[in-house]
Amino acid sequence: MSARKVRWTRVWIYVVLVLAAVLYLLPLYMTVATSLKAPADIRLDTAWEFPRALHWDSYRTAWQQFSPQLRNSFVLAITATVLSTVMGSMNGYVFSKWRFRGSEIIFPLVLFGMFIPYQSILIPLFQFLRSTGLYGGLPGLILVHVVYGLPITTLIFRNFYAQIPDDLLESATLDGAGFFGIYGRIVLPLSVPGFVVTVIWQFTQIWNEFLWAVTLTRPAAQPITVALANLAGGQAVQWNLPMAGSILAAIPTVLIYIFLGRYFIRGLLAGSLKG
């Protein structure tokens, strides 16, 4: 294998990678370009041109129009993330370090809950929320996200805690620590990365969720995804607004991804039982 041949292979690798990167970024470019155009300047045949004058009004309008839904999304995502993470941590601790009879059978049954198509529980869920008066508001939606978030949070923490050596816990037991003592003094201080992974994953998932948001909320409690879908789904759309709205809706999760991508990927791998 000559050095020249190697060099050409490398050139081709970079050509393909750069080309792929451009293709992946095209939709992003299109979104930003469109969102910065004045509505009158948006024509299909000039869609790829970058606006000559930056027109920030779309963002102001989108912000005014979407701020209640953005607020809903934040309340929903933060509350549900915190609750499901805390419960998941406790579950993971028990499933990894306090196995009980039948826990090997119960654990896969718990995990199954994160793979089901949620349509298969939607009708009883809808009925249940209606009969308890939780239908249509944020508390109901939070409850749903917490419950169906439990499988993945339990899984991430169980796998995370499985790496803590049993010796450590046994030594703590000899030092007189019990169930809560071990959790509070040994397990919890070691779980910061586990919490980061779980919080990021749950926040992203809940922020991005749509099916429950569209079936279980009344307009006042709708999160951003529903508002955006309604805006984009209408006929004769002015595209600058949905594009600006898309960017507003994407900013929190994209920021998380850019700054904490490492943890995001770990959540991703955990979700396929590989983490």
Binding site: I13, V16, L17, A20, A21, L25, P27, M30, L44, D45, A47, W48, M87, M90, N91, Y93, F100, F107, P108, L109, V110, F112, G113, F115, I116, P117, Q119, S120, I121, I123, P124, L125, F126, V147, T173, F179, W207, E209, F210, L211, T225, L228, A229, A232, G233, W239, M243, A250, T253, V254, I258, G261, F264, I265, L268, L269, G271, S272, L273, K274
Partner: protein, 370 residues
Amino acid sequence: MKSRQERLIALAMVAPSLVLLAIFVYGFIGQTIYVSMSDWGRGAALALDPDISFIGLDNFKDLFTGFLDVRFRQDMVNMVALSILFVGGCLVVGLVLATLLDQGVRGEGFFRTVFLFPMSLSFIVTGTIWRWMLQPRGGINVLPTLVGLPRIEFAWLTSREQIGRWNWQDVPTLLGLLLAVVFFVLAARWWLAGARRRAAAGGVLAAAALVWAFTAATKIEVLPFPEYHGFNLALIGIVLAGVWQMSGYTMALFLAGLRGIPDEVREAARVDGASWWQLYRHVELPLLKPIIWSAVIILGHIALKAFDLIFVMAGPDNAATSVPAISMYLTAFRGNQFAKGAAIAVVLLTLVSVLIVPYLVSTLRSREEN
């Protein structure tokens, strides 16, 4: 030692989660199955205490053979086509990108970030953006004009074109043929592995399935008259957006897998005389196989559940791109036909379970072994 009392505390701490999941997952699934066997939806469906009676499997029979439910059957076809293209697209693109990135390129972090960032978006955002990208007279279609080429004339999401049409009445025959092919492949593999008797049994079963497909199966009356289904070209746009969003995920999976192969093994192969391609073909790809399979399962179940992306890209009412996940929503929550919606949901759950349950069991078992 862990005392009895502390074990009880442990159990008490997980009990709330377990009870919630027992009710919200298994209880509700049970209820959905019950509703799918009822006639809820005829009459005052939204009453808090609606009048419901048990009608057995009639809803399912309607879905697959009922004259009115033609849309559901096309939805199933769409779902299968979408799943195959989406999973295949993600696998190929992800594998290519991961392989290239594994060659020790400069700026790997940058490329990884670019390919993976769509994963952090919601399907709703992706859908909105791609809906704009796929406008018949703009977006992707005018892209070639930037370099002087003619415009693409394809309506994407609003296309009504259908290719590869076939008659729903042939379903039993097609199933028989599929069965014959499966048995034949199994028989061939057993033959090559030297299990002659098993291979013979497989061959006999394949022949039987073949005979059945062309005799008894043709006599089964599924529908009273021909009904044609095919691949809707409008789905291509959905697949494109889906692959854009999810191929980063397969890339990350495969890259992690490639990085998990010890350097020593690659070096051993180089000393053994393997060229780059032989190393990739005979060592790296076979070692990635388990990861490829799990990607197929995970992506496959995502494809079966696809809802948000289609909803916002093409709208829930666009029949050309509809799938059971969407028609369940329309049937139950727009049409208030809860029983039929539940039946669609049960079909969906069954398909997902067929994929997920074996995966879940085998993954957890192999983890216990390690």
